[in-house]
């Protein structure tokens, strides 16, 4: 295990970003679940448009194109728009006495924090553990593989590489 400062900084940023995204998703999905659209209101029309755009975009990538996490970033503006346009969640539970609501909140908070913790642990142990030191990739995306070149017998190929940092895995 190494703990270099830039490595910790990367980790902090990644975990912070994931936590912020999860909180954003929760805060958007709660009013969405309780949303009763009334389309004579302009705000609700706008919100519906944002929902349709986001869902259509995601469906396009999942069904027709390829899905990668970075493609999802573009629905962020739609989510912010939803946050602004959606009315505060109105549920029947609001009429229930305050005592009952107080009991519910610790559970919701626990669920949210548990999800965040699990994600943080997951990130910590998997995707964060790889650092590219030096690389030359193909011009094609990884899943399409590179075009192979034929080398005739007796050929020697040489290439020099400089490693700015130590590495422990090398593949060609």
């Amino acid at each position: 295990m190494v703990s270099r400062p830039h490595c910790l900084y990367q980790k902090a940023i990644k975990i912070g970003y994931v936590v912020a995204s999860i909180i954003l998703f929760f805060t958007v999905s709660l009013p969405l679940l309780c949303w009763r659209p009334r389309f004579h209101r302009q705000k609700d029309q706008l919100a519906l448009l944002a929902v349709l755009t986001a869902l259509g975009y995601l469906a396009f990538h999942v069904i027709f194109w390829e899905a990668e996490s970075r493609y999802g970033q573009i629905i962020l503006p739609a989510l912010f728009l939803l946050l602004a346009a959606l009315p505060a969640p109105v549920t029947r539970r609001q009429k229930v006495t305050d005592v009952k609501r107080q009991k519910r909140w610790p559970r919701v908070t626990f669920l949210i924090s548990a999800t965040i913790t699990i994600y943080a642990i997951f990130l910590q142990s998997y995707s964060l553990s790889t650092i590219a030191v030096a690389a030359q990739r193909s011009q094609l995306s990884v899943q399409y593989h590179a075009q192979a070149t034929t080398t005739s017998p007796g050929t020697t190929l040489e290439q020099q590489v400089n490693l700015p940092k130590p590495a422990n895995t090398f593949s060609v």
């Binding site: 650092i131 030096a134 690389a135 193909s138 080398t151 017998p153 590489v161 400089n162 090398f170």
Partner: protein
């Protein structure tokens, strides 16, 4: 086909092992300069993943194919640091 990695500082040579469709070396490598050498000593042509462009210079050092330099071609390589759990 053999692929070796040579440290230009210590002149140490490691031989890569074939795994699926790529050659892998799992070995702590200190920072510094290295030379990748691929030799096809067999009798049949072999396929190698190369990235090739018409006009763009790729990796910081050009590839040398049979003593012939070509700065628009590069091997596809990947040096990474994996945090392995102490076991």
């Amino acid at each position: 086909m053999t692929i070796t990695l040579q440290s230009l500082q210590s002149a140490h040579v490691w031989t890569l092992t074939e795994k699926a469709d790529e050659f892998i070396l799992k070995q702590p490598l200190p920072a510094g300069s290295y030379q990748i050498v691929i030799q096809n000593q067999g009798l049949v042509p072999q396929l190698i993943d190369l990235v090739q462009t018409n006009n763009y210079t790729l990796a910081p050092f050009p590839i040398t194919i049979n003593q012939l330099q070509n700065k628009n071609v590069s091997l596809i390589y990947f040096f990474e640091w994996l945090n392995m759990k102490p076991s």
